[in-house]
Symmetry: C3
Subunit: 117 residues, 3 copies
């Protein structure tokens, strides 16, 4: 068996890669791209929970997060609302948030997670 486990692989990248005790998640975007940024963020965070569980981790073991917002001036507070509701406040990762236009104009937020198993 390989020392690298890959899952959720579409045609172009894997959703999850596990190597040693580290779990890498792809940049996750919302399924419902008609939703507002708070709802898109909640959707992403739910997907992160599911992907981490499948990989033998959970949100208390996230090491670092990058958050990319299509429009940071407009959407920073609304994204943070969903983040704050979801966050395990006893086990907060490092985080960096920047503005980046994303794969399509209706993708308002994308989150990249690295966690420990």
């Amino acid at each position: 068996m390989s020392d690298i486990q890959r899952s959720g692989s579409g045609g172009r990248f894997s959703r999850t890669v596990v190597h040693g005790n580290i779990v890498y998640l792809c940049g996750i975007t919302a399924k419902d791209l008609a939703a507002d940024v708070t709802a898109q963020t909640r959707d992403i965070l739910n997907q992160i929970d599911a992907a981490l569980t499948e990989a033998g981790s959970d949100k208390s073991r996230i090491l670092t997060a990058q958050i990319w917002l299509q429009n940071i001036d407009r959407d920073f507070a609304a994204m943070n609302q969903a983040w704050d509701e979801w966050l395990d406040k006893a086990n907060m990762p490092t985080r960096a948030t920047g503005e980046s236009r994303l794969a399509s104009p209706d993708v308002l937020v994308e989150i990249i997670i690295t966690a420990a198993k």
Copy 2:
């Protein structure tokens, strides 16, 4: 000998840093910046192959990739064409792609790779 090996060091950063069994590559840009985004991406992916080989890795062992495009609306499909040709479909990394203006206006794409040795 240090537990960290650095190579391809210019004046400002290293091209490759190896620590334990992890290989970090710098954000790689194309050598021919007059080329279009597909050609710039192919050039970058060739450089990635060479840097990984030198570090004792290869593209089947890439863990995660970040791709920064100067103009994601215009260039996402053309970048993906080069990516899809090159990708080891049995061993896909996680990936996140966002828009970011880069070191100079003719740098259309930059790719950051983390791999296992």
Copy 3:
């Protein structure tokens, strides 16, 4: 004791997360946001030195850096001036620099560091 140590935790993320022999720092921004980009970068690099020391590391052990500039055309050279003064030239990390608007318009630069303990 957990295998993950977190410190400098505010309400929303940790400043430093240590797991195994890897130190993750949050995206660090300057304290004086009225300062120009060179001064903001120096401030950030001083904060990085302090956070790494606290975590049992130092700048000679940085593995990789991401630098996000609010205006890369205008500020790339001025950021690099502070970087070049500070850099341990015998131990350069990999680096990627892109443009990203940040948490507020006066945040001119943000730096994300991963280091070895």
